[in-house]
């Protein structure tokens, strides 16, 4: 399979705190990888290193063979290939749903406004929010905002999508609508790295599950292997607490 992301010996320190202590892994095209683990285990930091939102302290991250943390890398072009969805949605509150979605394609890719609007239209149909096209983010529920955020990231037609606990800030009844959109995306063959606490989603959708603890990759494998037959004691303890 085509390798899309390669992480080699990635470390990250915040002052004296060692958040990542040497991560090695790869992600292949069309693969859905879920990252699970206790809070503070470095999952989000790991994800944010993949598109350079965090500087690496050591090691390297290659996306399509390009080093993310190299000074000579055109980070803006690289990031436009990597969509990211945040826990807190981070929609632009001063722009309408349509403007949120068309901003990057028109400014970064030079897509014509008409085409960008058409693309936004199609994506809103896909996430089921076409009727909200002219709404402002504060007029939407959390689940709707997150679906718009997914549409905004998809508008750049990225090769990879990163999800940073996309349902953790949502009311329980809104989690499903966001997970459904993500599942559809996975079924269409999108390469996805998902940091999540939704074990049901990970089991159902992931091709591979990574379990992280204390800045290390403790265990990885198919959902069946990790959830049903965890090899490591730490994995077992974590799963006993959350399942």
């Amino acid at each position: 399979m085509d390798e899309v992301i390669r992480v080699e010996g990635l470390t990250k320190n915040f002052g004296d705190l060692r958040v990542l202590r040497g991560i090695d892994c790869t992600v292949s095209a069309s693969e859905v990888v879920c990252v699970i683990g206790p809070s503070g285990s470095g999952k989000s930091t790991f994800l944010r290193c993949l598109n350079g939102l965090e500087e690496a302290s050591g090691g390297r991250v290659l996306v399509h063979g390009t080093s993310v943390h190299d000074n000579h890398t055109d980070i803006d072009t690289l990031r436009s290939e990597i969509g990211m969805v945040f826990q807190r949605f981070n929609l632009f509150p001063h722009k309408t749903v349509l403007e949120n979605i068309t901003l990057a394609p028109t400014k970064v890719r030079g897509v014509s406004p008409a085409e960008a609007k058409q693309r936004a239209h199609d994506l809103l149909v896909k996430v089921g929010l076409l009727d909200k096209i002219d709404a402002y983010p504060n007029q939407l529920s959390g689940g709707q905002q997150q679906r718009v955020a997914i549409a905004r990231a998809l508008a750049m037609q990225p090769a990879i999508m990163l999800f940073d606990e996309p349902t953790s800030a949502l009311d329980p009844e809104m989690v499903g609508e966001v997970l459904n959109v993500m599942q559809t995306l996975a079924e269409e063959g999108m390469t996805m790295v998902v940091v999540t606490h939704e074990m049901g989603f990970a089991r159902r959708v992931a091709h591979r599950v990574l379990f992280m603890d204390e800045g290390m990759l403790v265990e990885e494998g198919t959902p069946e292997a990790v959830f049903d037959n965890p090899r490591e004691e730490r994995t077992r303890r974590f799963l006993a607490n959350v399942l």
Binding site: L53, T77, F86, R88, F92, H94, L103, A104, Y136, A149
Partner: protein
């Protein structure tokens, strides 16, 4: 002209006699204020960004610290820490003659310098002093406004591939500007009133007009009350304009 008395004591005829002078003074005051608001805002944005400049790697890191952050901090400290009145005098009598001087001006000298100083000297130094001064205050408004924007907004924009400057222009500044409008409005009103200090170096704006009229008749209520009302109307107008802008840029506000 025969004395015209309003309410038994207000010599309206004095105001009528100098109406044209008040009119010219009003125009100068408005002109100075508008120039200083626009220039001061542009300068304030530049200084505000300079005070926030940072980079991850050398040599950009050192450049940001020593060529941007450090000088801009000193600049703001000086112009906020010394009286505007003193700054006006300093610029008019010390700084400007250094650059525009018939004998040996660094930028302009000879006959051009003589006529320029004579006709526009006070306007030039007044506008310069007021712009430099308000730029310092406005830079603090920009800095606070930019820093108040959630980091997540910047991260979302950058992760879409927008560059730092595009993120500033499309995402950060529009949101920061909305929050900055009330303090910017206050600043504009203060600037309008502070323009009266330029009368000290002989610029014929409103306060200068009032002093001239007062001197001619030895009457003080009439001219100073008149310009007080004129300033008042102008500040009300400014406050109204700011309110309109707030409504316009308030779209999508969480309230």
């Amino acid at each position: 002209m025969d004395p015209i008395l309003w309410f038994g004591w207000f010599r309206a005829d004095i105001i009528a006699e100098y109406a044209m002078m008040f009119w010219h003074g009003l125009q100068i005051t408005i002109l100075v204020t508008l120039i200083c608001i626009t220039q001061g805002t542009a300068l304030g944005l530049a200084i505000g960004l300079a005070r926030l400049a940072d980079a991850r790697h050398s040599p950009a890191r050192q450049i940001c610290r020593y060529l941007l952050r450090w000088p801009s901090t000193v600049y703001v400290s000086f112009f906020r820490g010394t009286p505007l009145f003193v700054q006006i005098l300093l610029i008019h009598f010390a700084v400007l003659p250094l650059f525009i001087n018939p004998a040996d001006g660094l930028i302009i000298s000879g006959e051009t310098a003589r006529s320029l100083k004579q006709n526009y000297g006070a306007l030039l130094s007044g506008v310069l002093a007021l712009t430099l001064n308000s730029g310092a205050y406005i830079s603090e408004i920009f800095r606070a406004g930019i820093q108040s924007i959630d980091r997540g907004q910047i991260e979302a924009s950058r992760s879409l591939g927008l560059s730092f400057w595009r993120t500033m222009y499309h995402v950060v500044l529009p949101q920061a500007f909305r929050r900055m409008l009330p303090p910017l409005g206050n600043n504009a009103i203060a600037l309008l009133k502070d323009s009266s200090l330029i009368s000290a170096i002989g610029l014929a704006e409103l306060a200068y007009t009032a002093r001239t009229v007062a001197g001619a008749y030895s009457r003080y209520w009439e001219p100073y009350l008149t310009i007080s009302f004129m300033y008042w109307i102008l500040t009300l107008g400014l406050a109204w304009a700011v309110k309109r802008l707030e409504a316009r840029y308030g779209r999508g506000d969480t309230r």
